[in-house]
Assembly symmetry: none
Amino acid sequence: MQGLTKKQQAILDYMKGFVAQHSYWPSIRDIQGKFHFASTNAVFGHLQALERKGVLQRIPGAARAYKIAPEATVDTPETVIRYEGPNEEAENLESLPLMGSIAAGFPDYTESTGAVASMQAAIPAGSRRRPPQSFALRVRGDSMIDADIHDGDTVVIEPGVAKHGDIVAALIDGETTLKRLIKQGNKTYLKAENQNYPELYPVTELVIQGIAKSVLKQI
Amino acid sequence: MQGLTKKQQAILDYMKGFVAQHSYWPSIRDIQGKFHFASTNAVFGHLQALERKGVLQRIPGAARAYKIAPEATVDTPETVIRYEGPNEEAENLESLPLMGSIAAGFPDYTESTGAVASMQAAIPAGSRRRPPQSFALRVRGDSMIDADIHDGDTVVIEPGVAKHGDIVAALIDGETTLKRLIKQGNKTYLKAENQNYPELYPVTELVIQGIAKSVLKQI
DNA sequence: TTGCATAGTGAACGGATGTTCAATGAAAGT
DNA sequence: ACTTTCATTGAACATCCGTTCACTATGCAA
């Protein structure tokens, strides 16, 4: 049960990004096209590997249907946050599965890759009533403590167009990080809310998975 | 651009709920089965209607692939907190209405409860392993700011036996207040976490509605 | 009445998509 | 050297699933 291969990680990242962008999963042939495989079976094998390693769950026979396995590592209860309108039926309710953890620090690979492997991006569709497509992420790291977001907190992420000053979940080097979005002219930065961290983190290509709307803190 | 039909709304809600639970969209036949249609075309027509009305976007030819149009109307977010185990079915869920708002200050205002009546907290029906019965309360007042609980926050309350040091929702003079429970010998106090408030609030008869387990903060 | 949108049945088509079989080669561990 | 795992090709299969066609029925507005 070791870490993921480079390509497995890349495929997983692509799937996460795809889902975050489209709100539905890619087909095997979508992935095949992206990675220029000559056979769908190449993708199929990787997906099997991802499932065998426990980071992805396939739904046999169903098209564009996957689940990201919740983090197997030690953590507190699988908290789920849900938005709901008044007087709604139970079946109409929406839950935000806890997709995994999010790094609040910049990716530094001093530690092994295993811990970071099982992140998840967005999924879900959303509620017409309130959040369009929301999901919850557990925060790891301390780079946002000045924004009162600490290690172990759970943030609710909503997809949407991020503005200057928003706290966003962004995909950097295959890992989702939580940072404040800074726009200066035509340049974009990600800023950690921690005096001990470098002020601005310039980015050219940026995949924003959503905007942090609220924080759930364990007392 | 009139509103949705009852059935259109129901189908849309079902799709949203399905995605929230499974992290992938339902197929047309999934919907068909749910609503006991004899033909897939019944669903197909409704999906077309939903798309024509602009609330749903189909991706032609792609299976289980949809997008939900962001909602135009703006209203106050009806935030609800919910605990759930992984891989839980929606049918097992039950929702309990929110009790109202909770005063984080000692009872001093005389306010009606009407404004906050419509929130709901939901918990899984079957799973005893997680919170037995949880509910959410919106915090009013500032008496717990030293515990990082501010006005407007939402706290998740779990029934249970409160220990010394727990933050509890207690009923005082007919109003629920949020305080830290202090036990000294055989005496019990409620303590506000605010330097400007009196340290201890002695109580003889105490109705504890639950223990605050987590806080949801709007960013 | 005449439309027109909504709502539905029943059957069928065809493409999209997951899945399997056979086979090759490289890298890594025994 | 031998086995295992990983990575990939190529072709084909089975079916899931979106889509279309033909037809019926209701309620509503012009």
